[in-house]
């Protein structure tokens, strides 16, 4: 059965058997082939897309969490509105981290004939993919964290103005989490080269 599935998968007979094949123990050896047969450019650009996409998702989510509370709280306490824009800017910074890393990563990718066939290309594809994952996810959760802290900051500031700076410190620490992802992502993509150098 397994052998039959393997042979049908390798010859690519029917889509149904082919899909089933990848869940059989006999196929484990073929997983390397699976990843090998994906072009490094795909990995690299999916990495870039995740770096910017997830970062923007986190930033946008954080901004609406903060923004809704900020707008509501400033109905009765208008003085907080401009001060608490800092919280929104902190969320925005998360998207900026994402775009910085995405630009750094994109500069590692370029088109040269045959550039995707070398061992360096395989390395670069995985490195950029990993960097994208690291930056994207860390910035997504960082944005959520800053958003929730910023929302509480707006509500607290509306009640008691002395709390603003104290809660801002909490937000700064939350914002630093995204920076960790950025540093790791830049280091990971530093040695990647997918036909961009020269």
């Amino acid at each position: 059965m397994a052998i039959a599935a393997a042979s049908s998968a390798s010859s690519g007979v029917s889509a149904g058997t082919c899909l089933w094949f990848w869940f059989l123990p006999t196929c484990l050896g073929y997983y390397a082939d699976l990843f090998h047969s994906i072009n490094p450019y795909l990995f690299a650009y999916v990495g870039v897309a995740m770096a910017i996409g997830l970062s923007v998702l986190g930033a946008a989510w954080g901004i609406f969490i903060t923004g809704a509370s900020l707008v509501g709280a400033s109905v009765r306490a208008p003085r907080i509105a401009s001060k608490n824009l800092v919280s929104v800017i902190f969320c925005e910074a998360v998207a900026i981290y994402g775009i910085i890393v995405a630009i750094v990563m994109a500069t590692r990718i370029g088109y040269q004939p045959g550039a995707d066939k070398s061992a360096l290309a395989a390395y670069s594809g995985y490195a950029l993919f990993g960097a994208g994952l690291v930056v994207g996810w860390s910035n997504l959760v960082c944005g959520l964290s800053v958003g929730v802290a910023g929302s509480s900051c707006a509500l607290a500031d509306a009640q008691n103005a002395t709390l603003f700076v104290k809660i801002l410190v909490v937000e700064i620490f939350a914002s630093a989490l995204g920076l960790f992802g950025v540093i790791a992502g830049i280091l990971m993509s530093a040695k990647a080269d997918l036909g961009a150098a020269r």
Binding site: F64, I65, V71, V75, S151
Partner: protein, 350 residues
Amino acid sequence: MEMLTFNASDGYLEAMMRGLRASILTASEYNNIMQCETTEDIRMTLNGTDYAPYLQNEPVPLQTAALVTRLTERIVSDFAGIRSSAYEPLATFLDYLTYPYMIDNLVLLITGALRNRELSDLIDKCHPLGMFEGMGTLSIVATPEELYRDVIVDTPLASYFVDCVSIQDLSELNIEIIRNLLYKAYLEDFADLCARRIGGITAQVMAPVLGFEAGRRIVNITLNSLGTDLTKEQRAALFPHVPNSLDAEIVHLLARADDEPAVAVALDRSPVFRALFQRAADHPERSLEDEFFEHEVKLLREAFDQQFHYGVFYAYFRLREQEVRNLVWLAECIAQRQRAHLGKVVNIFG
């Protein structure tokens, strides 16, 4: 998860609610009011607060009845503002806040219908938060049966009526029992809304508040039914059953209690109610009801300690109601020159 999704539809209103909460009178403002000599001075003091626009058109001297109307008007306008921009399920939650007033209004109208009073006069006496559709047509309703068939079935309370009241029960004797049965059905339904249909932080925050509310009603029903011809089975049927309320054992003992000492023995097993009973006994100038109000305010204040839940809406309107009670008490004391009783207000925020 509420942290991430709550603000999408309810963040604005929650923040606005907390802004309104900041305008609830504080201890120092109560102190200022206590220094007043006349009700006009109270108006002067309140002019420094949110109440100013509601009081400025009242004729001199300020009457206590007018004060109640204006203060209630303010709660109603707050409520209408919040309700009009609420999304589901907050809208449902807010609707539930008006049901107790609706129950009171309906009971008032049924009593009026039984006594053949003109219902249109009674409508002015109804609480504005408990208005429901069809109230305007009430003047043409003559008998309790018609009231039931034409009006009640269209209110949100109809399901509570169906469960606990039949048309034969609409007699004057049973009116208090009907009120309690309706309230029991309402409280159980509201607790279910918070715990199951909304859930999450709202359920956590509302559980102790509604649990205490149910416990308080159980104790009050027990105390009020002592020495009446209400049988013990009938009494037990009025008890609301809500999670986080009194233990089943205590409720059982209360259902069988014959006199006040038996009630005290039963409540000895509940730390909260024992403390409240003890304090009421130690301070002869304070009634048990005062202690209940004070404890309720403490629970409601705690609702503001958490974010991303609906409990703040409930807490805000209940605290405002307590504030109206406080102000009316102070105004009455000052108007009748009973300064010795001024201290009986419940401070909401220290």
